[in-house]
Symmetry: C2
Subunit: 507 residues, 2 copies
């Protein structure tokens, strides 16, 4: 009995330490959101210092000796622990082991460079000057290699960075999956581009006032389940989903008056992320067991809504009238069918976040291959724009006219998020498999989408994914839900059927 | 030489600790601003936890043994220290001594109650239910008395709370000053109200679209010197000036479509605070020596702009045309003269922040007397609305019809800021004395105001007050600038001259 009491007391100590860490990380979420959405431009130096200071405190808390001793005392196999408690202990130990290997100064340098790097990137992107941004990438590569050597001495530097976003995945395994996609998608895209029949994308042209885009995006985000009393929607250079807590989830987008599709689908994408966060288990505080699993699983949630749902014919059926009414005079020549085709048109373009489902994986594969080469010393940062453009030509047949439209387009490297990109395409594969499983469980799903009844679908995701937190590994989760491992063939089959029909390949 | 090196090293240690504290406090500034401006309503519980966690970290840092030892080693009288360095040491020691007397748990309880209390207050004010808010005041009084007993064992609980905002001031001294004001202002206001001639305030009525008010306020704020690249202007329930750093100062206001004066003058008031913060010495980092001196001095800066400048005939002369153009059709019957009289009309009202210069001190005196009685046990919280209304009748001849328009109007008590209110009127006295000194130094000041040339005035404030930080006590500062101590007679004389002219008392 005494031992039991001591065990429970140790567990309570662990929980209060984890809660403090989670709250400080929530604050970091707010000041980072603020930096991208509301902070005055003149404050960027001071903000870098502030982020560095808070990162230092968080690192100190996460590597606290007392936390380590507390974890040493706890045996998660003990019968008295529930499955939730066990998961908190295991996750806390994994995190602690990872963190205690990295010196505080290195963590602070990474955080400060991330903040400064973002400002440099914004300017370099605006002024189309890659050479201004190159030193940030170089500094990050050096720091990230140093970090990898501390955190994952047994892994290659790039695999260590991938592990941060997609635990257990390796660049070798990812390369196999990506090669399978490349082998199919590159010739399939070429075939499509040679087809005589092409969707008429000109029906999407026009002028779309920002206020109307914003109202429409807000309406659709709310329809599919975003809770605005526990979140916000704002504008930033690059759309993202951030926040501080499941009750405070913040999505952003950017508006282009000549293109409402980009901003609307960015909102739906970020709403997918937000639904994951807002749907976390409610009775587990803000503790590790309730956290999102991996970036790949997170992306599966954003892509589930952005692609599997919102680029379906059923979704267009439901929203076509509302879209026409929002922008009167813009869709005179359009029908549900031509609208569906137009928003799914396969058009190799420069910008990843504007890419269609078919070409998107190639944007990701390009970045994955470049990151791999950078980390493995096969590519120097100064050669990056050249290699970028070369691969664009090889995979998509086009070359960006400026670096702003090429190597400078994404914010990821400005915050040091190397190894993140693969998650987008792993997420697309997961999303496709989850969608098939969801249809099995909810036979009316497609007709529900066509009538705007998204609640059962959101509920299915809440129950099967969001509220499962970290109770299972991604491999276990996909097996539980789909009865199968991650398998790119499902995505390939889905894309072939969908695009063959749109482009009348067998027509 | 060795000793010198050791001293410099200790000082450097002190500075890096002070810098970390200042950065963490800056982060607190952002999450508090966020709470009032951008946070979704559903996040208030989580935010209270986050603020509690950060307050705990800041308290831990401010009471760190190593900081104490570092301060013990440092003798600020040492010849090697500049006057700036000395001030940093003295201020750090004062703060450290104050903080080490208060237990961390108490600091966290106060911070958490402040966050929760704010949400309770917003709702109670909206629903006109003082009884919902009363428990928060009671809890705060208990905690604040406990705090005072730890922090200032030699002072009464209320004096301890006053000292936090106006260092060195006591409730006895303030009562003397306030009694002097009461003795003059109550009969003077009665005399004015009995005058046959009254300004025509109906010329200020009308409909004032929020966007136009916002644009005008932004323009005037910028004209008088607010740097928008180092700050923001937003909307909140109660106007305030916050932020995280001299490069990140954030003011708020609230808009009423039927009254543009309230929001405009709130913006000018908060701009005065903001100019103080943006004008802090630039080469002293964000260290104690550069911080604002006291709340009274801070209020002197907001009131300097809001009243001494923006309620002057010269200011009206400059902006009357712009105001007429902003709201076409609204000021058909007005002239510069009637406009000046109308915005200065003495109208005893319920709301402090809407009060004119003459009645404002009585709002403050009422609150001061209530706080004093609450702390001294002469008044129970449940009797507060009754006493509030009684004093309103006695001082201003009116009784608020609801608590929303009475005891629930201010946010201060919801965050535990007892002892803050006196600063408003001490600030008004300082502002009046500073304005007279400024006119001595800048003989063209009034004509500069009339032509919208505010730069010399802002420069004078920057040089004489903002950039002086904490190098002098408030008493030394007012003596250096005006050659005199704080003296309410200047404010009384100024008000008598101004209002006798407006109300034609000697006409």
């Amino acid at each position: 009995m005494l031992l039991y009491m001591q065990t429970k007391k140790n567990y309570q100590n662990l929980i209060s330490k984890l809660e403090e860490i989670s709250r400080l990380k929530g604050i970091m979420g707010i000041i980072q959101w603020d930096q991208e959405v509301t902070m005055p431009s003149g404050a960027s130096e001071a903000r870098a210092d502030q982020i560095g200071a808070l990162a230092g405190v968080i690192h100190e808390r996460m590597t606290d000796n007392v936390l380590g001793e507390c974890l040493n005392e706890l045996n998660e196999q003990h019968n008295d622990f529930s499955v939730f408690e066990r998961c908190n202990i295991v996750e806390a130990r994994r995190e602690y082991d990872l963190m205690t290997k990295v010196p505080k100064e290195l963590v602070q340098s990474l955080a400060a460079l991330g903040s400064r790097g973002h400002a440099v990137w914004v300017r370099a992107r605006k002024e189309n000057r890659f050479s201004d941004f190159a030193p940030v990438i170089k500094e990050f590569l050096a720091l990230k290699k140093e970090w990898a050597a501390c955190a994952y001495p047994d892994k290659s530097a790039y695999d260590a960075n991938i592990d941060l976003f997609e635990r257990g995945a390796t660049s070798v395994e990812i390369a196999v999956i990506f090669d399978q996609l490349k082998a199919t998608l590159i010739p399939f895209i070429q075939e499509i581009k040679q087809q005589a029949y092409q969707p008429d994308t000109s029906i999407l042209s026009g002028h779309f006032p920002v206020e109307k885009q914003e109202a429409l995006a807000r309406k659709i985000s709310e329809d599919i389940g975003f809770q605005f009393d526990k979140g916000r929607m704002d504008v930033s250079v690059h759309p993202f989903c951030g926040g501080s807590h499941p009750t405070d989830i913040r999505i952003t987008t950017r508006y282009n008056e000549n293109d409402f599709v980009e901003s609307l689908y960015a909102v739906i994408h970020e709403t997918g992320h937000a639904l994951y966060e807002q749907g976390r288990m409610t009775d587990a505080g803000d503790l590790p067991v309730s956290e999102s699993l991996t970036m790949g699983i997170h992306e599966s949630q954003s892509l589930f809504w952005e692609r599997m749902i919102a680029r379906s014919r059923e979704f267009c059926t439901h929203y076509f009238d509302m879209i026409c009414q929002t922008f009167p005079g813009n869709f005179q020549r359009a029908t549900i069918d031509t609208f569906y085709q137009a928003i799914n048109a396969c058009e190799p373009g420069f910008i990843r976040v504007e890419a269609d489902e078919l070409t998107y994986p190639l944007h990701v594969i390009l970045r994955f291959e470049i990151e791999k080469a950078l980390f493995e010393g096969d590519l120097s940062v100064d050669d990056l724009p050249g290699v970028w453009n070369e691969k664009m030509k090889q995979y998509l047949g086009i070359v960006p006219p400026t670096d702003t439209l090429g190597v400078l387009q994404d914010s990821h490297w400005s915050s040091g998020a190397f190894g993140y990109f693969p998650s987008y395409t792993l997420g697309a594969i997961y999303a496709c498999q989850f969608f098939q499983a969801m249809q099995g469980a909810l036979p009316d799903a497609k007709s529900n989408i066509a009538t705007g009844n998204f609640a059962p679908i959101k509920k299915w995701l809440n129950e099967n994914i969001h509220s499962q937190g970290r109770l299972y590994t991604p491999q276990e989760l996909v097996m539980r839900i789909t009865g199968e491992q991650l398998n790119p063939q499902h995505l390939i089959d889905y894309l072939k059927v969908k695009y063959s029909e749109i482009y009348r390949l067998h027509g």
